[in-house]
């Protein structure tokens, strides 16, 4: 059986229609590229996430003209961040207007991912859900030239394209099939448990750092909060012994922020617990002949920084810009994608290192504060880069597309 795409040729096939993939597809399509966006899951499904967008991420949505839509979904505005340190005074930071945005947002993924995929479709990308990529096509020189697919009914097919973008997450089929080397590997990993709760009074982001554990409160859609606790995988495993899931969660929250633990009792959990067992961070080589990686597929850092979506939105634009150059002139593939590689790594190094160190849970509070200071400084660098990006044609959301040619 064919999916009907086997005979088509695209400029770019983007594998994965979550934050990184849908954004990349949208930007490419807005610039006139012929884009196929494939996603294994059905539209509007949720995925594991800490939700929080930092200023850089919100700036991207604003620059792309999507922030108003996000606000219209009822996602609450976050106007402050509070850091709780065990046995220390909390630090309160107000989010002031700057770089074109006056608040942060932490949308549920079924809200944001759907919004981005719809924007990609509006821009002219062909969006297909329920289609799994099983492997890559290569030309006679070994250059990647498309993808092999299988839909939910087991029908296989293929799609040819000048470039395949792997935005298919931490277990990326594209990265695996392309042979993307891991260029840097983290040493630590957080195990994280999440819960959605109702009835919590916490209008801003709150991050807590305590006794070998961290926790966070993130206001998201429907009046709910995403509450997470994180520690080392070993501790997370032992914590569960002899305890109910609620008890284990509460015990870890208490370890992270004893002063705040009482607040959890005000709240009601609205669904089951979600867990992440932990995996070390990595930076993979993000491109090769005919392929590129974006989002967690190419660069995964520990979720404790809650910075993954923001980086994905940043890299989507860097990659889309590079691919447009390479599509226009194959000779420029190396410098353009090489530059994408360089800038991604340059902007990611500090975030990568800091997240990895935090994920060791071996810090004392002054060390954690120093790490957070580095994190803030790195986010400032990222913001300056985004603010300085030109407003290229890809930001214009008119779908039609002869511009590329």
């Amino acid at each position: 059986m064919s999916t009907g795409t086997s005979t088509n040729t695209y400029d770019v096939v983007v594998v994965g229609a979550r934050v990184a993939g849908a954004s990349t597809a949208m930007l490419l399509a807005r610039a006139g590229a012929r884009v196929l966006l494939l996603e294994r899951a059905e539209p509007g499904t949720d995925t594991l996430s800490t939700h929080g967008l930092m200023r850089g991420g919100v700036v991207q949505l604003a620059r792309w003209g999507l922030l108003d839509r996000l606000v219209a979904t009822g996602t609450p505005a976050v106007r402050s961040t509070t850091f709780h340190w065990i046995a220390e005074e909390p630090v309160h930071v107000t989010i002031r207007p700057g770089a074109g945005v006056d608040a942060l947002y932490a949308p549920r993924r079924h809200v944001l991912d759907r919004l981005l995929a719809e924007a990609a479709a509006e821009a002219g990308a062909e969006v297909r859900h329920g289609v799994r990529v099983t492997g890559l096509l290569r030309d006679r020189n070994g250059r990647v030239s498309g993808v092999r697919t299988e839909d939910r009914d087991g029908r296989t097919g293929s799609a040819r394209s000048a470039y395949v973008v792997g935005a298919d997450g931490i277990r990326s089929v594209v990265a695996e099939a392309a042979g993307a080397n891991v260029e840097r590997l983290g040493r630590h990993a957080s195990a994280v448990r999440y819960a959605y709760v109702a009835g919590l009074d916490a209008p801003g982001y709150e991050w807590m750092y305590g006794d070998g554990a961290a926790a966070g409160l993130i206001p998201t859609n429907d009046g709910h909060h995403c509450v997470f606790v994180a520690t080392t995988p070993d501790r997370m495993r032992t914590l569960r012994l002899g305890r109910t899931a609620d008890e284990a969660f509460a015990a870890l929250f208490h370890a992270a922020a004893p002063d705040q633990a009482g607040r959890l009792s005000e709240a009601t959990r609205v669904d089951r617990y979600h867990g992440w067992a932990g995996a070390p961070a990595y930076l993979r080589r993000p491109w090769g002949p005919g392929w590129a990686l974006v989002g967690d597929a190419g660069y995964f850092k520990d979720p404790i920084s809650t910075h993954g979506m923001t980086d994905a939105l940043r890299d989507a634009e860097l990659l889309a810009g590079a691919l447009l150059v390479a599509l226009a002139d194959r000779d420029l593939e190396r410098p353009a994608l090489g530059e994408y590689h360089r800038r991604r790594d340059e902007l990611s190094t500090a975030l990568f290192e800091v997240s990895d160190e935090i994920a060791s849970y071996a810090w004392d509070i002054p060390t954690a504060q120093r790490l957070l200071r580095r994190l803030s400084a790195a986010m400032s660098d990222e913001l300056e880069l985004l603010a300085a990006l030109p407003s290229p044609a890809i930001l214009d959301d008119s779908p039609a597309g002869a511009r590329l040619a």
């Binding site: 200023r55 961040t81 046995a87 220390e88 005074e89 630090v91 309160h92 930071v93 107000t94 989010i95 002031r96 700057g98 770089a99 074109g100 500090a350 509070i365 002054p366 120093r370 957070l372 200071r373 580095r374 994190l375 803030s376 400084a377 790195a378 986010m379 400032s380 660098d381 990222e382 913001l383 300056e384």
Partner: protein, 1045 residues
């Protein structure tokens, strides 16, 4: 209408006189009881003017338990009823405030109009309707901000915020942009609308000035930059010519290779995490700013962040201005950093940056600004590195120098280079010495260029000049690059600044604006030029054409300090004085900061005119901790002041000196006594008593307090504290206790520095009773549990810590607790507390034998105490540091430190503790028994018989006994040993017992009882070991070995 209550812009109550048809305003004096006024205001804002009595108590007396607060409520209600009784009626209007069924109601059943309530309801309906007309009508009801006299009352905060926001929204709806920027100068949309209105009328200049004003307003808020829309508008009206980079960054400097190498070396080392400071010095025109430009360029090439300020930008600017300007510049370039900066730090920086008038209670202020600046520096340095540049430091205020010194020390552990430029001068010597001797910075003196370099520079600038001209330039330029550049620019010799191209009116306008500083805005030029608008713009154009001035980030600046000097030099003395006065008057009329106006009047020789401005400027200086600058200002004007101005200035002089712990505070307050009145007079009396008590002049203190009663005003707390202190020092512990308890009930925990004094007094009382150890642990615990106490740390508790340290305490635990305390204190901006904690950690390290750590912590503690002008703490840390040096065998180094400590300790609240310790150490560092005896005698003379702390006696008596025994002065040895034993008895269970045994061993040796001496020595060693003091134990072991050998 029965009663009309006005709360907007002011507070007043007007009563309708029954039957008389005449309104009667309640006299202001009726509200002198703050509690009564607050109760009426609070109820007037409440729904149906009614609150539950516990709500009232929570709002007005939040720290007092309900049962204790209820009598206050009844008292307040009583006075309110009295105030609200119309003339000619019974003295009390019984139904004005009714307490019934746990509810408190204001004027029940009466028709009452409250302007704030009316305004709120009209404003909300206008906004809901979106009607500009209704907005205008609502605005007519707004007479000003809510209760301006209650600005810091938490119970009014919510209403104030709501009304302020409504007022702004109404202005916006009504399109009253000028009013809007007046109340919110950072409202960019309003500025843009104003600029747009000018443009619509074809008034480009007016539009440009609006944008310049906007930029200036935004520059006063950290990290705020004009939006893309504003930039586009600026481009549209053609004023977009981006200000040129400072001078010529990137240009190769001639003859400055060594300077370039020094800069690179500093950047390299800082890049490796060892930051430092570089002070570039040299005469005017030698190229200091060019070297700082080079540093900026090199730093940026490395991806570092940079921030730059200059002290010459504004003549007589407010405290810390050049340093704040550098931090503001940094934040403008990197606004994203502020997402990581604690709000409280940001507010502190914003407050200082605004240059606005700050009120000062006269009590020692927070040093929070220092901590805030340091945190921003650390944040900016994270990742790549930070170069902070402050130029023209020779023109900086003392407060700036202290802040820079602090930041220079912060830089040491960060990727930070602090680069400073200054002409050499006396007032920088301390900074220079400190940077160098502490190894935290270097001085880079720039000499004029030599002849080959001058020739190379000329060749680069004007390759065609003939040899004779070049030789002449070399001869007359003195090798100063500025003069060489000027000579080349005009292709003439002499190297002076060429002003000949400026016509009379142009020169007049420019030299008048030059009085303001090296930078100015178009508005300022228009205001002071003395010309009409067209002529002023023509003068500006001429100044730009001749490169006398150039565009700056906001407005314009003189191309070089020497160009400005040359412009000013065209004034005769008389002309300058007259122009200076006119300019100062103009600035005053424009509402410029008082510090600036006062400075201009003074600089032009008009001290009388400066007085009212200086009065306000001194308060700002006090509030920002810039005490020495405040004193300098008072000294400059006080002899020209009369009446209440003079009274206030004299009282402030005492406050500033007291804040600096200067003994001259006593005569200063005495001078203020005869001219002050009311609460200010009572405060002066209380503070005189405090200063005199600490200075040991108890008669003066008693006289100052005689007949002083509590009166329900702001002086009550200080009076009670002064009574307590005096009672303590005359030995009446019961009275001291009672006064301290009474003070505890009156003082608000929101005033941490009075609480510090109180905690200190109660600490001293506990000390006297021998209960310090428990008390200290309790305070420490409370500090950890109750953040509000963390600011009130133990400045005066240096001797308290001895209990902790000499007792059987785990020193690593002490260090851990001290570190925790330090972090918390720093967070609260209580640098004195942080300094104390650092010193405590250093002492613990010293006693447990970790000399490296002790050296580091105590050096830091001494510096921190010095930064915040805490002399006692500095003396204490230096004395401990001397012990570290002594333990390392560096007697000379130890002596030097003690020499520095002595004058600092002499006049401080804890001198009676510190002096004994310092003199004790001076005995120990002596090179020979003779020298040691001389030190004993000196100590005895200095300490005298009075004012001695019997606890701390042991610290002098033990070394004195040992020295006397070693010198064969057996009588003296026995006398000191007896005194040591009496004192040590109060230190049961501490290492001082070991010290006394050690002294006994020396006496036994001196009397020939060798076996007894050895036994005692071994016992002392054991006792030191038990007390956890390995160094002392080792010292005795070594001495024992030596004796056996």
């Amino acid at each position: 209408m029965d009663v009309d209550i006005a709360m907007l812009g002011t507070f007043s109550v007007t009563l309708a006189r029954a039957g008389a048809g005449v309104d009667e305003a309640v006299d202001e004096s009726a509200w002198s009881r703050r509690g009564a006024a607050a109760l009426v205001k609070l109820l007037a804002l409440a729904e149906r003017r009614t609150l539950h009595r516990e709500q009232v108590v929570d709002a007005l007396w939040p720290t007092v338990p309900v049962d204790a607060a209820l009598p206050r409520l009844h008292k307040a209600a009583h006075y309110a009823r009295r105030a609200l009784a119309p003339t000619g009626t019974p003295a009390v209007a019984a139904d004005a405030v009714v307490l019934r069924n746990d509810l408190v109601t204001l004027l029940p059943g009466r028709e009452v109009r409250v302007d704030a309530v009316d305004f709120r309801s009209r404003a909300e309906s206008a906004l809901a309707a979106g009607s500009a007309e209704e907005a205008a009508a609502a605005l007519a009801l707004y007479a000003g901000p809510l209760l301006p006299e209650d600005l810091y009352e938490p119970w009014a905060a919510e209403w104030r915020e709501t009304l302020t926001a409504l007022h702004r929204d109404l202005l916006r709806l009504a399109g009253r942009w000028s009013d809007l920027v007046r109340v919110d100068p950072t409202d960019e949309a309003a500025w843009l609308a104003l600029a747009g209105q000018h443009l619509d009328r074809g008034d480009t200049r007016g539009a440009e000035r609006q944008l310049e004003r906007m930029e200036q307003a935004l520059a006063r808020e950290l990290g705020t930059v004009p939006s893309a829309e504003a930039r586009r508008l600026k481009e549209r009206i053609g004023s977009a010519a981006a200000p040129p980079g400072r001078r010529t960054p990137g240009v190769r400097l001639v003859g400055r290779r060594a300077a370039g190498d020094a800069v690179r070396e500093h950047l390299d080392r800082a890049g490796a995490g060892r930051g430092s400071s570089l002070l570039v010095t040299g005469p005017a025109g030698v190229g200091k700013s060019a070297v700082l430009d080079l540093a900026t360029t090199l730093a940026r090439q490395r991806g570092w962040r940079t921030g730059r300020g200059a002290a010459s930008r504004m003549e007589g600017a407010w405290p810390y201005a050049p340093v704040l300007e550098a931090l503001a510049d940094l934040s403008r370039q990197h606004p994203g950093l502020l997402d990581g900066l604690d709000d409280s730090y940001r507010q502190e920086l914003d407050r200082a940056l605004s240059g606005e008038q700050a009120g000062w209670s006269g009590e020692t202020a927070h040093q929070r600004l220092f901590v805030a600046a340091a945190e921003l520096v650390r944040l900016a340095a994270s990742g790549h590195g930070l170069l902070l540049v402050v130029d023209d430091l020779h023109e900086a205020d003392q407060a700036s120098l202290r802040l820079l010194h602090y930041l220079a020390r912060v830089a040491v552990a960060e990727q930070v280079v602090v680069a400073l430029g200054a002409r050499p001068g006396h007032h920088l010597r301390e900074l220079e010495d400190s940077l160098v001797t502490r190894g935290i910075g270097h001085v880079l003196p720039l000499a004029p260029l030599d002849e080959p370099a001058v020739r190379r520079l000329v060749a680069a600038l004007q390759p065609d000049l003939d040899d004779e001209t070049v030789a002449e330039i070399w001869a007359v330029s003195g090798g100063l690059p500025f003069r060489i550049l000027e000579a080349c620019r005009t292709a003439r010799d002499g190297g002076g600044v060429a002003l000949s191209g400026l016509g009379g009116p142009t020169l007049e306008a420019l030299r008048r604006v030059a009085l303001l500083g090296s930078a100015f805005t178009t508005d300022e030029l228009l205001a002071v030029s003395g010309l009409d608008e067209d002529a002023t713009y023509a003068a500006l154009a001429a100044g730009l054409d001749t490169a006398v001035v150039e565009p700056a980030d906001t407005g314009y600046r003189f191309r070089h300090a020497l160009v400005r000097d040359a412009v000013l030099d065209t004034f005769s003395a008389h002309e300058r004085s007259r122009a200076g006065r006119e300019v100062a008057e103009t600035l005053a009329a424009r509402g410029a900061p008082a510090t600036r106006v006062a400075g201009l009047f003074l600089a032009s020789g008009h001290p009388v005119q400066a007085v009212p401005h200086a009065r306000r400027a001194v308060d700002t200086a006090g509030a920002l901790g810039a005490y020495r600058d405040g004193l300098a200002l008072i000294d400059a004007v006080v002899d020209h002041a009369t009446g209440t101005d003079r009274a206030h200035l004299l009282a402030r002089r005492g406050d500033l000196l007291l804040a600096l712990a200067d003994p001259a505070a006593v005569p200063a307050y005495r001078a203020a006594l005869s001219v002050t009145s009311g609460t200010e007079h009572r405060l002066v009396q209380a503070r005189l008593a405090r200063a005199a008590t600490f200075g040991g002049d108890l008669d003066t203190a008693a006289a100052a307090l005689a007949g002083l009663e509590l009166d329900g005003d702001a002086a009550d707390g200080p009076i009670l504290l002064a009574r307590g202190n005096l009672a303590y020092f005359v030995g009446d512990l019961t009275a001291a206790d009672a006064a301290a308890d009474a003070a505890r009930a009156v003082l608000s925990p929101d005033d941490p520095w009075q609480i510090v004094d109180l905690v200190a007094l109660q600490g001293l009382l506990a000390h006297q009773r021998g209960e310090w150890f428990e008390r200290f642990r309790q305070e420490l615990r409370q500090t950890l549990d109750d953040p509000s106490l963390a600011t009130a740390v133990f400045d005066a508790h240096l001797c308290v810590a001895e209990y902790l340290l000499y007792g059987p305490m785990d020193y690593t635990e002490v260090i851990r607790l001290a570190e925790q305390l330090r972090r918390r204190a720093e967070h609260h901006g209580a640098l004195r507390g942080a300094a104390f904690a650092t010193s405590l950690a250093g002492e613990a390290a010293l006693l447990m034998g970790d000399l490296d750590r002790a050296e580091g912590d105590l050096t830091e503690a001494a510096a921190l105490h010095r930064d915040v002008d805490a002399r006692a703490g500095e003396a204490h840390s230096l004395q401990r540091l001397a012990e570290v040096r002594l333990a390392r065998g560096d007697r000379a180094g130890a002596r030097e430190l003690l020499r520095r400590a002595l004058p600092l300790a002499r006049w401080s609240m804890v001198s009676n503790h510190l002096m004994q310790r310092i003199h004790g150490s001076l005995i120990e560092v002596a090179e020979s028994p003779e020298e040691a005896m001389a030190a004993v005698e000196q100590g005895e003379m200095a300490l005298g018989d009075t004012d001695r702390c019997t606890f701390c006696d042991v610290m002098f008596e033990v070394p004195a006994a040992i020295a006397s025994a070693d010198a064969g002065e057996l009588d003296a040895a026995r006398r000191h040993l007896d005194a040591a034993q009496v004192s040590a008895a109060r230190w049961a269970g501490t290492a001082w017992e070991a010290s006394v045994v050690e002294a006994q061993a020396h006496l036994a040796a001196a009397t020939g009882e060798r076996d007894e001496s050895s036994r005692l020595s071994a016992l002392a060693e054991e006792l030191f070991t038990v007390a956890g003091q390995p160094l002392d134990a080792a010292r005795l072991r070594a001495a024992d070995g030596l004796a056996s050998a």
